[in-house]
């Protein structure tokens, strides 16, 4: 069976095929964009955090807008947490994964020329407390820690621990250890020296944790001091999670309640509970997109089925003639599947173009990420499969048309 027969049949009666084609094109364009938008929401949720989150408790809400926590108060808090039964380690920190109320940020430019915006987690021995996996280099030395907002360590490069992904972006294939990083606008000054690399560490600015930027995070050796904000990360004994959480809450209450403004509520929660809350709105948006995509799919399948069903029925006589002339059932089935593939194929080419230019056009007016072209074949493949699925039942019905129909004059 040549494709020319297919074409000439389509040309002779073009209303139905062109409606199917238009539907497929539109559905393909919408699906590509919706799936991409959904992926954007999903990326931060799928990114590995690098944190050993099972036995981790995060404490925040310790904001003192009218004063600043002194180094002694912060240390007293850490000490109180360490004495709680079941607690293995506690670190005071500014900036923690899944704590989105306080976002600490900087930017670095590396030898590759790439300038990368990063989130900074400052605190004492966060590497161990968060349970991060060091792949090269070392943890900070006790002597390297400095008090936040103090003159300590001015003039010497500040040690930093970066992530593997950050190392690749800033240094390419070169070893990052011992290299000096500067912020993009000031290339002079001591800068920061890389002393260690961890496998993963999820940033806490989630909106930009997409397109391979999820791990753009650094650790710095800082003791929290003279800061109105404060948070703690607490590692607990897996066997005593519940008891430790209660203990941590009690310790925070007795340590900070009298110092905090009236009505402040410090929050001590497990990492998992935090993660759940942070991603709640993302999940809601994701469900919305999934609903939209599903509706588009259903509408398109129904549309194709309805149109093809009618079109097949109209050609019952021709099918009968073909069968009478010796065509097998499988030939008829193949004919309709091929015809659908042809129409849908043209439709998706049109749809991919529409998706690409639609996205480019919207990008001119709105803040929207560019639709990577790799998404286009995905939407196209999906549409082709859906098309074949939708045509299956009408095509099977056509294949069942007996040859004797040709002799009737319906």
């Amino acid at each position: 069976m040549s494709i020319r027969i297919l074409f000439s049949s389509l040309r002779r009666n073009s209303l139905m095929p062109s409606l199917v084609l238009l539907q497929v094109a539109l559905a393909c364009a919408i699906l590509c964009n919706v799936l991409f938008l959904a992926w954007q929401q999903m990326e931060p949720m799928l990114a590995p955090s690098g944190v050993d989150g099972n036995d981790l408790i995060l404490v925040d809400g310790l904001d003192a807008p009218d004063r600043a926590w002194t180094a002694a108060e912060v240390q007293a808090g850490t000490d109180a947490l360490r004495t709680v039964p079941g607690v293995r380690a506690a670190s005071a920190a500014l900036g923690l994964p899944m704590v989105v109320s306080f976002v600490n940020m900087r930017a670095f430019r590396g030898p590759t020329g790439a300038a990368v915006g990063v989130n900074v987690y400052e605190g004492y021995d966060l590497l161990d407390t968060l349970g991060l996996q060091l792949v090269s280099g070392r943890n900070f030395l006790p002597g390297e820690y400095r008090d936040l907002n103090s003159e300590q360590g001015k003039g010497v490069p500040e040690p930093v621990i970066i992530t593997q992904s950050l190392a690749r972006q800033l240094f390419g294939d070169a070893s990052p250890l011992g290299q000096v990083l500067h912020s993009p606008e000031e290339t002079k000054g001591p800068g920061s020296v890389v002393v260690g690399v961890v496998r993963h560490l999820l940033r806490n600015r989630m909106n930009v944790a997409t397109d391979g930027r999820a791990d753009d995070t650094v650790l710095t050796p800082e003791r929290v001091a003279t800061s109105p904000w404060l948070a703690y990360a607490v590692r607990v004994d897996p066997a005593m999670r519940e008891a430790a959480l209660r203990g941590v809450r009690k310790a925070i209450e007795s340590q900070f309640d009298s110092l905090l403004p009236v009505g402040s509520k410090p929050k001590a929660e497990s990492y998992a509970a935090r993660r759940d809350k942070v991603f709640k709105s993302r999940r809601a948006t994701l469900e919305l997109f999934a609903g939209v995509a599903l509706t588009v799919v259903i509408v398109t399948v129904i549309g194709i089925m309805g149109l093809t069903g009618f079109w097949v029925q109209k050609r019952t006589r021709q099918i009968g003639i073909r069968r009478a002339l010796g065509a097998r059932r499988i030939d008829i089935l193949r004919y309709f599947l091929a015809e659908n593939a042809l129409i849908v194929g043209i439709g998706v080419v049109l749809g991919m173009t529409l998706a690409y230019f639609g996205n480019a056009w919207l990008m001119r007016y709105y803040e929207l990420p560019r639709l990577p072209w790799t998404w286009l074949p995905l939407g196209a493949l999906l549409m082709l499969l859906l098309g074949q699925l939708a045509v299956l039942s009408p095509a099977l019905r056509a294949a069942r048309v007996p040859p004797v129909v040709a002799t009737r004059s319906v």
Binding site: L15, M16, L19, V20, L22, Q23, L26, A27, A29, I30, N33, V34, P65, A68, M105, R106, A107, A115, V116, G117, V118, N119, N149, S183, P184, E185, R205, V208, S227, P228, W229, P261, V262, G263, S264, K280, S281, A284, T285, L288, G291, V292, T295, V296, V299, T300, I302, G303, G306, L307, G309, F310, W311, K314, G358, L362, Y365, Y366, E367, L368
Partner: protein
């Protein structure tokens, strides 16, 4: 003829009930998606203060003695934060511009955060948004007074610790809406309540965008004279920039004497007044000697409400994008419906052939089929109404600061049916035209 066509159309709808249901459902889905997103856009881009907003302008003079630096903004941008310039000004400029009285009404506006405690210390509302402003704010922005009075310009000048609170706060702190004469403690200062207003929530919260584009939690419930607020140590939390010499330390509240923190809104009723005020502002900034010696060009701006909301992207891009997405989905549904209708119409080619052979003009056939399609989509529109409610409910479950505003109003209710009818006629055109081309002879012969 119209009536006959109408009857035929209604009859036609009942003939293939299964495909009618499909047509109606598809149309309803497309319409509901479109209406849901359009309603949100409509609510968010509505005039926040009809009748007044066109006369309100935000006045800005750039007198901050600091070299324009993008360093902070770049780092913010790389981490996905947008830095906005809220067109705030320093204290001295606000005082000078207020004192000049060049506008019909004028008020300084700045949001501060404070714990509101009743005078007996027994009830408190923590971390509330407090509006520090001047006496003109209430008449200028059309705030409705329930009890007592607005504070006077004299009290503004005397830096008197007076306050106007809303009925909700009065109820919470004092157990009665009429709290005139009571006092509210902010930090260490007692502010005497002179008036009680109806809760005043503007959407968008355009007059102080630094406090959020939309007042999701009900806006400010307490107003105080800004001078008295500064005396009480209530400090604003954001600034557009500070003089180089006085860069606020990390975490410090910006000092209004050296940092741009105050918004200045003026009411100008005629284009002449607007032009005159614009000239006055520019002259004012050109006369600032410090600025000249610092080497910064004198800049001033006067921005109307609509322009101001546009500049600050108050209606989020995602809302407009969703409208486009929904519109393309409606288009998909329309093509779908057109196809389904064409299929069901063409099944009746025989009947139409007979009608045409008996003398029915093409026009009648066309009209009948367009009516049938319009009718189907109108039914779809009725079905779209609960679906739109459902869609808006889903939107309200999304956690953004404006999601709670998504409600259907009568105007959008009406436009739903207009849209349904338009869609119905539009999708019916092609299949109906195809039907009106049916040749009488051929069909009769074919049968």
């Amino acid at each position: 003829m119209l009536r006959y066509s109408f009857e035929l159309a209604a009859l036609g709808l009942r003939r293939f009930p299964k495909s009618t249901v499909l047509v109606v459902l598809t149309a309803a889905l497309g319409l509901a998606a479109c209406m849901t997103t359009l309603t949100l856009l409509h609510v968010l881009s509505a005039d926040p203060l009809p009748g007044r907003s066109q006369n309100l302008y935000l006045a800005w003079v750039d007198t901050v003695l600091a070299k324009p630096s993008n360093a902070g903004a770049d780092i913010m941008a790389m981490n996905g934060f947008k830095t906005n310039n809220y067109h705030t000004i320093k204290l001295a400029d606000a005082q000078a511009l207020l004192a000049a009285h060049r506008a019909a009404q004028q008020s300084v506006v700045v949001d501060v955060v404070a714990d509101e405690v009743s005078d007996d210390g027994r009830h408190a509302q923590n971390q509330q948004m407090v509006l520090a402003t001047t006496s003109d704010f209430i008449p200028m922005f059309g705030v409705a007074l329930r009890y007592g009075r607005d504070w006077t310009p004299a009290e503004d000048a005397a830096r008197a610790p007076v306050a106007v609170i809303d009925t909700d706060l009065a109820q919470k702190l004092f157990g009665t809406p009429n709290a005139v004469g009571k006092s509210v403690r902010l930090k260490k200062t007692l502010f005497r309540v002179v008036g009680v207003i109806q809760p005043y929530v503007l959407q968008p919260h355009f007059y102080a965008l630094s406090g959020g584009d939309y007042s999701s939690d009900g806006g400010e419930n307490l107003y105080v004279p800004y001078a008295a607020a500064l005396d009480a140590g209530l400090a604003p939390y954001t600034t557009d920039g500070c003089d180089d010499a006085r860069h606020g330390k990390f975490g410090d509240a910006p000092d209004p004497a050296h940092c741009a923190v105050l918004g200045l809104w003026v009411q100008l009723d005629t284009p002449q007044q607007v032009a005159a005020y614009r000239t006055y502002l520019q002259n004012y900034v050109e006369q600032q000697k410090d600025l000249g010696s610092f080497g910064k060009p004198p800049r001033s701006e006067l921005t109307g409400v609509a322009e101001w909301m546009k500049q600050n992207n108050v209606v989020p891009d995602s809302v407009r994008l969703n409208v486009w997405l929904a519109a393309s989905f409606l288009l998909l549904c329309m093509v779908n419906v057109a196809g389904l209708l064409a299929a069901r119409f063409l099944r009746r080619s025989g009947d139409v052939g007979v009608r045409r052979a008996l003398g029915a003009p093409r026009r009648a056939v066309f009209l009948q089929h367009v009516l049938e399609s319009g009718l189907a989509c109108l039914v779809g529109g009725v079905l779209a109404l609960p679906l739109t409610w459902l869609g808006l409910w889903i939107l309200r479950q999304q956690s953004s600061d404006f999601a709670g505003l998504a409600h259907l109003d009568p105007a959008m209710f009406g436009s739903l049916f207009a849209l349904a009818l338009a869609v119905g006629v539009l999708v019916g055109l092609l299949p109906a035209w195809r039907m009106s081309r049916v040749e009488p002879g051929l069909q009769v012969k074919g049968e």
